[in-house]
């Protein structure tokens, strides 16, 4: 049985580590579902889980590149706080006076400014690490203190609220979702893209005369993709917006809600942001020179240097990218809370690093995947919200998360030793 199972996985050529991670996630889910008498695996909770994971997931994709190049970034949580505060300050105290409250450009300007700050801060930290050769641990530890302090300074510690109403859609409240129809449409487009890409790649390989996996394997794989995409969409669409909130949405538009109408949440906007970030980051990792050099440098910095890679400049770019993604995460996090407080993102650096590491990123460098980091973020968030649901005391929660982190890395090390890669 085990033999045939492992053989069929081999025919499918699915990464067995990926399967292990998915299995671990499913176990976590089922256990919490049993402990909460079926309250964990509900559309409502899974929807909340998807929104809560988004900010850490976005940063985790960048942390993969950082760790792959043998660095670390401890400043992301604090930088998230600083960018969130700056965005909030601009939206509440600066731009309304210049443009008027609710001006449609406000959210665009603030997102743009946030992204710029993130990339610039990352580039500066990357410069100190790459060109001045100060260890990343120290530079970003300094950054943690600097940006947390700076976050306080923006408004002398005052929380800023309420944020621009268009901007808060990016945080995925009841209104910040696609709704049922658009969610189905998105699912269809994603499925089509996945299937087309799969078979294009198959065709390219066979055109070069490489042996491709059996046709049936690709069919099964394509079927799996489509099933997962539509399954996720169905769950998100099964979570109805509460009648009163839906009525308010119609009122805001000057309409009245038809009797008996049930509106579905659908896929949340932050989840779409994660999807886009994950796709772009995967393309960068797999299909661009920059991504290839990131992994080559992580595997053997001297070899990369001898092959003509400017590893110092690469470090600047990798940290700038991390800063940019931190800004996107700051947008999601502050939009979700509809306010910006100076403790926004506290301890996020540890969640992000844990997500990347649980997702199979090796701290020794050279190894890591984007999808792994996102799965890792989902595992971390599932543990946390699951334990909160069960009613585990907060101190015990962090003990459990800490132990799980170490065990996950241990399991990964044992796996690598067994398989020899």
């Amino acid at each position: 049985m085990r033999e045939t199972l492992s053989r069929s996985f081999r025919t499918l050529q699915i990464d067995t580590r990926l399967l292990g991670m998915i299995a671990a996630l499913l176990i976590v889910w089922v256990v919490f579902d049993l402990l909460t008498d079926g309250r964990f695996l509900t559309p409502r909770n899974l929807f909340n889980l998807s929104v809560q994971t988004a900010s850490v997931a976005v940063m985790a994709t960048g942390m993969v590149f950082i760790i792959v190049t043998r660095h670390i970034d401890l400043s992301v949580g604090a930088l998230l706080g600083f960018i969130g505060m700056t965005i909030g300050w601009l939206q509440v105290q600066v731009l309304p006076d210049l443009l008027g409250i609710g001006h449609p450009a406000i959210w665009i300007i603030t997102v743009f400014v946030g992204a710029l700050i993130g990339a610039a801060v990352g580039a500066v930290q990357g410069y100190v690490i790459g060109y001045l050769a100060v260890p990343a641990f120290i530079v970003t530890l300094g950054g943690l203190l600097v940006w947390r302090g700076a976050a306080w300074w923006v408004t002398s510690g005052q929380t800023v609220a309420p944020l621009d109403s268009t901007f808060t859609l990016l945080g995925g409240g009841a209104e910040g979702t696609l709704g049922a129809t658009w969610s189905w449409l998105l699912a269809a487009v994603c499925s089509l893209a996945a299937v087309v890409l799969l078979f294009l790649s198959r065709k390219r390989k066979s055109d070069h005369g490489f042996t491709v996996k059996p046709f049936i394997a690709d069919i099964v794989l394509a079927g799996l993709f489509v099933a997962v995409i539509f399954g996720f969409t169905a769950v998100m669409n099964a979570y109805a917006i509460p009648a009163r909130a839906a009525a308010r949405m119609f009122e805001a538009r000057g309409e009245t809600m038809p009797e008996g109408l049930v509106l579905a949440h659908g896929i949340a906007i932050p989840v779409i942001i994660v999807l886009v970030v994950a796709t772009v980051m995967t393309v960068i990792a797999k299909r661009t020179r920059f991504g290839r050099y990131v992994f080559a440098t992580g595997g053997n910095p001297d070899a990369a240097e001898l092959a003509g890679v400017n590893t110092k400049l690469l470090t600047v770019k990798v940290f700038a990218l991390m800063g940019f993604l931190t800004a996107i995460a700051a947008v999601i996090a502050s939009a979700r809370l509809r306010s910006a407080a100076n403790d926004l993102g506290t301890l996020d650096e540890l969640r992000v690093i844990a997500a990347a590491v649980i997702g199979g990123t090796a701290l020794s460098g050279g190894i890591g995947t984007i999808y792994g980091a996102i799965l890792g973020a989902v595992v971390m968030q599932s543990l946390q919200s699951g334990m909160a649901m069960v009613g585990v005391d907060a101190p015990l929660q962090s003990i459990v998360v800490g132990v799980v982190l170490v065990l996950a890395v241990l399991a990964d090390i044992i796996y690598r030793r067994r398989t020899g890669d």
């Binding site: 390219r204 070069h208 020179r289 595997g299 092959a307 020899g420």
Partner: protein, 267 residues
């Protein structure tokens, strides 16, 4: 001079003249001259720490020389980094092989010179196809095209490093201790390859601390000691023992052209 008589009228492929490089106060390479002609194998010999690897790294771009000049086909060139060297078709097979262990053979062979499709994205399939072609020539038993090179044997890793050096039309090939980590059969394969490349008109610097690796393959040897050139000789004009004397004692035999590092007289 005997060494130049055989190449009279021909422009050397590589001339390195009066190369100096120091680390801190240590003169690792102290005024060394070497040259290399097309289709020639020059063995660069010396103890560990004699400066031969350092000297050659100024040619491959890994180190920057403090002073001295490098001419390729008679033209003075500036080699500041590995990219410059590659642009002059100087390829290096490092002793460590300089492979990124986490990447597959194709990614290593094309590292820094990736094939891209329209739109600038990596064309991994074409790189793999090219890799299959060249590996077929170098090492027909090679099959692990999608495994990271960490999973390969020493000989297979060596052939990946060699493939990377010769795929891009190398004119000058630098091999740093090419057979140090290989078994007898693989060593013979490397020797065979060197003869083949030589007949293609490629000039080869063969660096080794072990004279037995080099003597039969090289047309000439240059021996270094303490950062200086002891001397150069055509292998047909000297015996192995005499070259050994150059390496160990810095004593230049009658068949060799002495350099600044040669012992004076018989002291």
């Amino acid at each position: 001079m005997t060494t130049q008589a055989s190449h009279s009228g021909q422009t050397p492929l590589v001339e390195m003249e009066d190369i100096h490089i120091a680390f801190g106060g240590v003169k690792a390479v102290d005024g060394v001259d070497v040259d290399l002609y097309p289709g020639e194998v020059v063995g660069l010999l010396g103890h560990n720490g004699a400066g031969k690897s350092t000297l050659i790294k100024t040619l491959s771009g890994a180190y920057r020389r403090d002073s001295g000049s490098i001419r390729i086909n008679g033209q003075e060139v500036a080699i500041e980094n590995p990219r410059d060297a590659r642009r002059h078709n100087i390829e290096t097979i490092y002793q460590t092989l300089a492979l990124a262990d986490n990447l597959d053979a194709a990614s290593n062979i094309f590292l820094g010179r990736e094939l891209v499709s329209t739109g600038g994205f990596l064309d991994d399939d074409r790189m793999e196809a090219e890799t299959r072609k060249i590996m077929n020539r170098l090492n027909p038993n090679f099959e692990k095209f999608s495994a990271p090179v960490k999973a390969l044997s020493g000989g297979q890793r060596q052939s990946v490093a060699i493939a990377r050096a010769i795929y891009f039309d190398a004119r000058v090939l630098i091999m740093d201790e090419p057979t140090a980590a290989l078994g007898p059969q693989e060593t013979a394969q490397v020797a065979e390859l060197i003869k083949q490349l030589k007949s293609d008109g490629i000039g080869i610097f063969l660096i080794s601390h072990d004279i037995h690796d080099v003597f039969d393959l090289a047309d000439r040897v240059s021996v270094m000691k303490n950062g200086q050139l002891v001397g150069s000789a055509r292998t047909e004009d000297v015996t192995k023992d005499e070259v050994l004397g150059m390496i160990i004692l810095g004593k230049c035999p009658p068949g060799a052209t002495p350099g600044p590092g040669a012992l004076d007289g018989d002291s």
